[in-house]
Structure formats: structure tokens, C-alpha cells
Amino acid sequence: MQTDKIRNFCIIAHIDHGKSTLADRMLEYTGTITDRKMQEQVLDKMDLERERGITIKAQAVSIEYQGYELNLIDTPGHVDFAYEVSRSLAACEGAILVIDAAQGVEAQTMANIYLALEHDLEIIPVINKIDLPSANPQRVKEQLLDIGIDPDEAILASAKNGTNIDQILDAIIERVPAPYNGINQPLRALVFDTLYDSYQGVIAYVRVMEGSVKKGDKILLMSNQKSYEVDEVGFFSPAMQKKDKLTSGEVGYIISGIKDVRNCRVGDTITLKNNPAQKALPGYQKVQPMVFSGLYPTDNADYEILKEALEKLQLNDASFTFEPETSEALGFGFRCGFLGLLHMEVIQERLEREYDLDLVITAPSVEYQIIKKNGEEVKIENPAAFPDPSEIDKIKEPFVTAEIHLPEEYVGQAMELCQDNRGDFKDMQYIDQDRVTLKYEMPLSEIITDFFNQLKSKTRGYATLDYELEGYKASNLVKLDILVNKEVVDALSTIVHDDHSYQQGNALVRRLKEVIPRHMFKVPIQAAVGGKIIARVNIPAMRKNVLQKCYGGDVSRKRKLLEKQKEGKKRMKQVGSVEIPQEAFMTVLERDENA
């Protein structure tokens, strides 16, 4: 395809403003998808994505329209995948900004505009859902004017009814710039996502910035200097379609027998081995997991199954890491690294759903840098593995800059929440008269507890959160141990700020009292810092557990009740003589509203 006939664009929107529906409609309108049986929202592939209404993997589709090749790149929609989003945007020249005609400009809309501007994208505003009785496009246009976008450029549309889809497509051709034509330069292709296929290996989603690539070429990944021979190139429609070659400006895929996604990372540049580019494309980062937690099979016999499942998941996800770990309380399991909490939840859910595994998950932790008194420096992401306090000179923890976009009326609550989570106020800016961006420097460990949920609930769901890693800083941290029946349960240990240790220890033992069932004996639950008990509650001994009525009609029912009780006990983890239910290991996560 001639470069001037190509348009590369993405769709950005606040959640629920109709991004995926619009994408589907465009595919239908252009005949890219003719199968009427297509599932709603073709681009969100996994069940999980569909259920949660978020995109986790980027997707790309080539649309043929009036002699043009329009490449739509759908981006993930969550802060955990911010880097992937940025690479997807880097592959485009334009962005359709979808705004709900009834809801108007929202915090995420602003964040998206900034992001698009950062990547120098041509923005095409689309006011969607004009079919709604509550639609008020005029108000939205006024808002656009407020934020510096020409409202006359906005297209009124209804993705649901298919209204004005043609205008949007025409606008893409007219307004989005054609890609730079670098056909005569050495190959530079940007990897913006990868997929693993058990037959073909890694499928790299690429945008060719310069040069061209075809079957048989020897390619080179510029970050790790690994080279492979190209088996196949092609594009998505949305199924994979082979093609002779991909040339400057085009979007498609490259298959080259790469067996491990970790060798072909998002953001990397592919060039030709025999005619390499001088410089890689800017912006490559090796994404590192930021959140760690222990995954243990409830039934120790499932260890091998869990291991295989993790290996399979990793094939498709270079940002997810795992290594074997042992816990005195939980037995054999794995310490896993994730980009963020959503990433962690998605992986856990997939393990439980697709592999039918029953898991105990320990509270997430960040990676700490510990400088010992003897000068030795260690990195530890499992609180249980912390050295003795007497050996520790300094502990450093990761800090992030958190950006919170929210309506002005919730600023007070949000600031309070940030303060409670050791946030250091940096800046506050009005986006318009009633929208605000707050900037805080905060420890990542605070963000990955219950922060986001609490932020959402304190702002009635209006706040959005972005954060970026700043670096490590020393904090006055201590390890909070939990003793159940006088024994330390390693999997319940957490790292907390010393100023909060008393309060958090108290809150935690109280929560544990709620979830750990009564036993035949009194079970003390204690919180300790450096061997000193700072909080204690007792779970009183069980006094009565008997089905009093049992006659002829009840026998089988009573037996089933007993079987259910026994099954419930089996799902608990036996620590010493105490049975601890799975949820106890996650209660560490929660924060007391009043604490």
C-alpha cells in the first residue's frame, strides 16, 4: 500500500463512553466483518475483558475503505498497562476521542487528550450516543471549547444505531496525516503488543515506521540483539491474513519463530540483520513487575498444575514473572510479579477459571531495598524474607507520582485519603472550572493496598488514577508480624510505616478475628513488631456446634451439611493447630475506614 493511502489511528474514551461499540460499528460498516454472528465487541477478546469492560491486550484491525487502508489500534484501558498504551499510541498518527453526549467530558477524557497530545496525534472528537434522550451535544461542544478543542470539528454520532459512521471514516482519511514515508530507509518496526501461539510462537504486533520486511528476512531485535528469520508477515482483518511484505507506514504482524515472549517485548524495535537501523525507536522500556504476591495452591497436590498454568500464562505475558517460594504456613507456592493490582487480579482469575485452581493469595507487596548495617544491599519483595531488624540500617521503598483527576467537589476527601496513605502533596491544577488534577508523591505500597477502591468510593466513582514510578526513597518501615495461637504466620507479615504500625496491627487482628472461625480452644491473634506485641485479640473457644434436631427426615440432609462443613475445612490452611481460611490472607489488604 502506498504510504499516502494509509491512516493509523486509535480510539480513546472514558470508560463506557462507547469505544468498543464504535469500533465494532466501523468494522461492520466497512464490511471488514460480515459475519452477523460476531460476538458483541469483537475487539475485546477474553471473556474476562468482556466481563470487566476493559481491554487488557491491544488489538489491531486493518480496514479497507475507499481505497485507503485504515489501521485501528485498540488500546488497553487501565493504569496497570500504561506503558502498553503509550506504545500503541506511538504507532498511530491520529486518535478518535469519543465523548458520551449525555455524560460529557470526564476526567479520563482529559487524561486521554493529554496522552494523545503527548504523542502528537491528530484528535478527531466524536460526540457519541446522540440517540439517548438525555444527550446534550451542545453542552459537550461548549466543554470542548473550554478545553481547547474546536467544537466545529466534532462529529455527532450514535455507535449503537450506526449514525454518522461514514463521517467518522471520512474524517480519518481527511484529517489524520498519512504516515511518514521512509520506504528507502533501513527497517524500523515498533512492537506494540505480542501474542503467543503454541504452533507459531510469538506473534509480534508491529507498526512499520521505516523500511519494509518480508518472509525470509533476517530480523534483529534491537534491545537484546537477538536475530530470527521471518516465517510470515501479514495484517489483521481482524483474522490474521498473510501478505508478501509490510512496508513503511503499515500495521500488521511478524512471525519469526520466537519461542519466548520475553525475547520480543513491547516497545522494542525490529530491524534487519543485514541492513540494521542506526538507532532504535525512542521510548523502549523493559516493563518490570511492580507488585508481588505469593500464590499457593490450597491443596498442596495441585502444585504441579499451578506451575504448568503459570508457565502457560507467562508465554503470553512478558510482564508477568514467577519463581518458586516456600512458606512455613502455606507450603510450596510461587512468588509472582505483576504490573499492578488489576494485572494481578486478571491472572488470578484466569488461574481459577481456566485451570480450575483453588488458590491462597497473600497480600501484595512491593520490592524493598534494604541496606544492612554491614553495607550489604538486598532487594526483597516478600515481607516474610525480611532480615532481622537489628541487621537493618535503612529500608528504601518505591515511590510514585500519582495523578488523580476528579470533580472539584471531591477534592477534600481525596486529599484526606492521600494524606492517610502517606501522600506528599505536590500540585493541584484546575482543568476547567469544576475539574481538578491532584498530584501526590506516594509510596507505591500504599497505592497497591485498598487505595484505588477507596478513592473510587470516596468520589462516587468519578476519580481516575494514574501513577508513574519515581524511584526509591528511604522510609521508616517495619515488619508487622501476625501470630496466630502464638506462632508467627509468615504469609500474614506485611511491611508498614512505623507511625502506622500500632493502628494497622490493631485493625488487622480485629479483621482476622472476623474471618478465622472459632476453634475448640481459645486462639489469640497478636500483632508484633520486632518481637514486641503491639496488639492482641482472642478468638474465644467454640462453645456450641451441633445440629440439635435430627430425626428420620433429616438424616441425609444433616450428613450433607456435615460434608459441606468438612469441605469448608479442607479449603482452609492448617497453620499449627489452627485452620485459617483463604480470605484471611487477603484481609491484610483491606484498610479500615476508621483506622
Binding site: 475448640m520 434436631k549 438424616v555 456435615l562
Partner: protein, 416 residues
């Protein structure tokens, strides 16, 4: 379908599925009392009696229990007829225990006398409480005064009877329960059953509980009440022969005792559950289905109700023209569940352990050809250590603490 086979059943349970009103804690099957419904029910019940009696070999019946529902709504003349029909198909020796449940709200002195004449020799009366507030909370239509009156009448006419109390009610104090116990002991009933209020799914109480509108007392208070009862009843000379049952010497509930001894029993009526020694069955909780099933040559229940409404001619005239009901699938009346060896062993164990005699190793061996002590060696040792059971003379039985924590004991004797 499995055929039930009652070679050795010596007990009959009969479920009378009608009540004037439904108590909000009760999950037994019952429906609104109507004259027509009851007539149809009797016809069907006699058919079921005939059907099941054919599956028995030894027709000796030692105990009969008429439960419900509210059997005291039955006219005593029908009780007499029912017992006659049973005696026609089974051998019922004069020593047989024949119990009927009665609700203090639906019996009178006259009825008590007539029931005795009809052949009932034991009554089980649902007193539940002597506190008007608690009675009204439980949806009982009797009050404290009437409860006392009926209890003393029953005590007058019946040598053998049982009275029920429910405790651990929302907002009930230990003192209030003590008063209930003391009131009960004034009558020295030969047999007392005690239950804490349990919430069952599909009952109004359960729904309220789920919504947070009903709070049960704390486990501590529940246990304190139970312990108080044990102490008081023991002092009064009662034998605590099963977790929830107490009797004066010689007055055990023989029928119920057969359940705990893992003996087979016939059960009749919609919603009734029976056991032939290896399979348990439950008739569907559906009066209409039951009636239709056992009245194959008559009208369906719905048709009769319809005719009644339209005030058509007499049934007998219409009967002539009536074609047979299509009841081709005999399996539809009850669910039969045949137990695995493991399930039987588990049931046997927890039922036996409910009684004061406990579980005899040799009886277990006779029944299952497996040595209980070998299978559960570790469990038995642990339970003894925790003072939940006592081992003596070739048997194990619960301690008082074990009775309070009986589920914890029973759990140990479930096989995987």
C-alpha cells in the same frame, strides 16, 4: 428405578401435610388445611399404604408416628380409621408405640379423650415456650395459659407423652428460658425435647436473618442455656438419652430411637422421608402431585377444585365418564437415593453417637464388616484428648462438651 425393599421395617412415619397457619421457622412440608384437600389426601395415603405394605416382608410394626403439619387437625374418627387401615395391612401388637404430634392450639379435652380411644397411646405436644411474647414471635397460635391448660389435660389422660421447648430465641434471656424450664418441670412430663432455634433455608425467619432483621443470640448464651437445661433436667431425674431428648426412666421415644439405631422405616405422605436400610427416599413436597399419583382413576386434584367451583353434579355421576389419568411414570412420586458404603458408615456413626449409648464397635463391625477403631484410630485418640468423647467397654460416646460440639465430632467420621 430402584425398588424399595422393606424387609425388616418395624416403624411407620406418616406425614399429615396440613396446617392452619405456617410457623415462620418451620421447613417441614405443609399446606393450608381444606376439607376437600384432606379427603383427597386420605384416599391417596391409603393407596400409598397399600403399595408400600407390599414391599415389606415382615409386617410387624412396633412404632407408628403421625407427624406433620398439624395432625391434631385430623378428626379423631379419621385417626381411628387410619389406624384400622394400618392394622389391616400390618401386624400391630398391643405394645406398639403410637405417637401423634399435637398443637396446643388445635386440641381440646374432648379431642384428647377421643384420640386416646382411637388408639393413640403417646402424644408429642409442641409447647415451644410459656412466654407469650416468644410464642407470638414463633408464630404459634397458642398462648402461655393455653399451653399450661393443654399440658395438664394431656398429663391427665396420657401416661406417655412428650413436650417440646425451643430456646435461643432472639432477645431471649437466660432467665426467661429458666422460667420456661421451670414451668415445664411443674408438669413432670415423661419426655422432653429441647431445640435451639435453627434457621432453615426457604423459611421466613431465614429471609429475615439474611436481611439482617433477625439476630440469633450469641453462641455463648446458646451454650449457657443448653447447659442450664442439662443441669436442671438432670436434677429433676431426667435421663439425657439423645442430644436434644430427655426422658424419665422407661419413657424413651421408641420411634425416634429407631432412627438413631439406623433401623429402616416406612414413610408415607407428601414430603415424608423413609429408609429401607440402604436407600433413603423422600416423597415430593407436593400435595397435588401426590394426590394425582395415587388417584389414577379419579379426577385430578385441580379438576375437582374446578368442579367444586362450578358446582357441577355429584362426583360419582361424573366419574362414570372419566377416562383414566395418565400416570405412566411411577418414578415421579419420590426421589430415591441409595447410599454408598461410606455414606452409610458416616450416617450410622453420627446417629449412634447422638445417643447416650454411643457407638458400639462390635455393632459397627456386624453391620459393615469393618473395624471402626482401625479406620478412625487417630481421630478417636484426638477426640478423647480433647475431652469430646469417652471410650469405655467397647464403645465410644459423647461427653457433655462433646454434645455441645457434636458436629466437630461427627465431622471426623466422614470418609473422603
Amino acid at each position: 428405578m430402584h425398588n424399595l425393599n422393606f424387609e425388616t421395617a418395624n416403624a411407620i412415619y406418616l406425614h399429615f401435610p396440613f396446617c392452619s397457619s405456617k410457623c415462620p421457622y418451620c421447613d417441614f412440608y405443609s399446606t393450608k388445611y381444606t376439607k376437600l384437600g384432606v379427603d383427597q389426601f386420605w384416599a391417596a395415603l391409603f393407596m400409598e399404604l397399600k403399595e408400600l405394605s407390599r414391599t415389606t416382608k415382615n409386617n410387624l410394626v412396633q412404632t407408628i408416628y403421625i407427624g406433620g403439619g398439624t395432625p391434631s387437625l385430623i378428626e379423631p374418627v379419621f385417626v381411628a380409621e387410619l389406624l384400622q387401615k394400618i392394622k389391616y395391612r400390618f401386624k400391630v401388637p398391643p405394645t406398639a408405640e403410637i405417637t401423634m404430634e399435637v398443637n396446643p392450639a388445635s386440641v381440646t379435652e374432648e379431642k384428647i379423650i377421643k384420640l386416646k380411644r382411637a388408639g393413640i397411646n403417646r402424644l408429642s405436644v409442641g409447647i415451644q415456650s410459656f412466654n407469650d411474647q416468644h410464642l407470638s414471635f414463633l408464630g404459634r397460635r397458642s398462648n402461655a395459659e393455653n399451653n399450661k391448660k393443654i399440658l395438664s389435660l394431656i398429663d391427665n389422660y396420657f401416661d406417655n407423652y412428650s413436650a417440646d421447648l425451643i430456646f435461643a430465641l432472639p432477645n431471649q434471656s437466660l432467665n426467661e428460658f429458666e422460667q420456661d424450664l421451670e414451668e415445664m418441670l411443674k408438669f413432670s412430663p415423661p419426655h422432653i425435647s429441647l431445640y435451639n432455634l435453627e434457621l432453615h433455608e426457604n423459611t421466613p425467619f431465614y429471609e429475615q436473618y439474611k436481611k439482617g432483621n433477625l439476630k440469633l443470640p450469641a453462641e455463648e448464651l446458646d451454650a449457657d442455656m443448653y447447659e442450664l437445661a442439662l443441669e436442671k433436667l438432670n436434677t429433676a431425674g431426667y435421663r439425657h438419652y439423645e442430644i436434644s431428648n430427655f426422658c424419665q426412666p422407661g419413657y424413651r421415644a421408641r420411634h425416634n430411637y429407631l432412627y438413631w439405631l439406623y433401623q429402616p422405616y416406612l414413610a408415607l405422605g407428601p414430603g415424608a422421608s423413609g429408609f429401607d436400610g440402604s436407600c433413603r427416599y423422600q416423597n415430593f413436597r407436593d400435595l397435588e402431585k401426590y394426590i394425582d399419583y395415587y388417584n389414577p382413576e379419579r379426577f385430578t386434584f385441580a379438576e375437582i377444585m374446578d368442579l367444586k367451583k362450578k358446582n357441577k353434579k355429584s362426583f360419582s355421576e361424573l366419574l362414570k365418564n372419566k377416562k383414566k389419568l395418565d400416570v405412566n411414570n411411577k418414578a415421579k412420586i419420590r426421589k430415591i437415593n441409595c447410599l454408598t458404603a461410606e455414606e452409610k458408615m458416616a450416617e450410622y456413626s453420627f446417629l449412634a453417637l447422638r445417643t447416650d449409648n454411643g457407638l458400639f464397635y462390635h455393632k459397627f463391625y456386624q453391620k459393615f464388616k469393618r473395624d471402626f477403631k482401625t479406620i478412625y484410630k487417630a481421630e478417636i485418640e484426638e477426640l478423647i484428648k480433647n475431652k469430646l468423647i469417652i471410650e469405655a467397654n467397647g464403645r465410644i460416646h459423647l461427653t457433655t462438651r462433646g454434645r455441645e460440639l457434636a458436629n466437630e465430632v461427627f465431622l471426623k467420621f466422614l470418609l473422603d
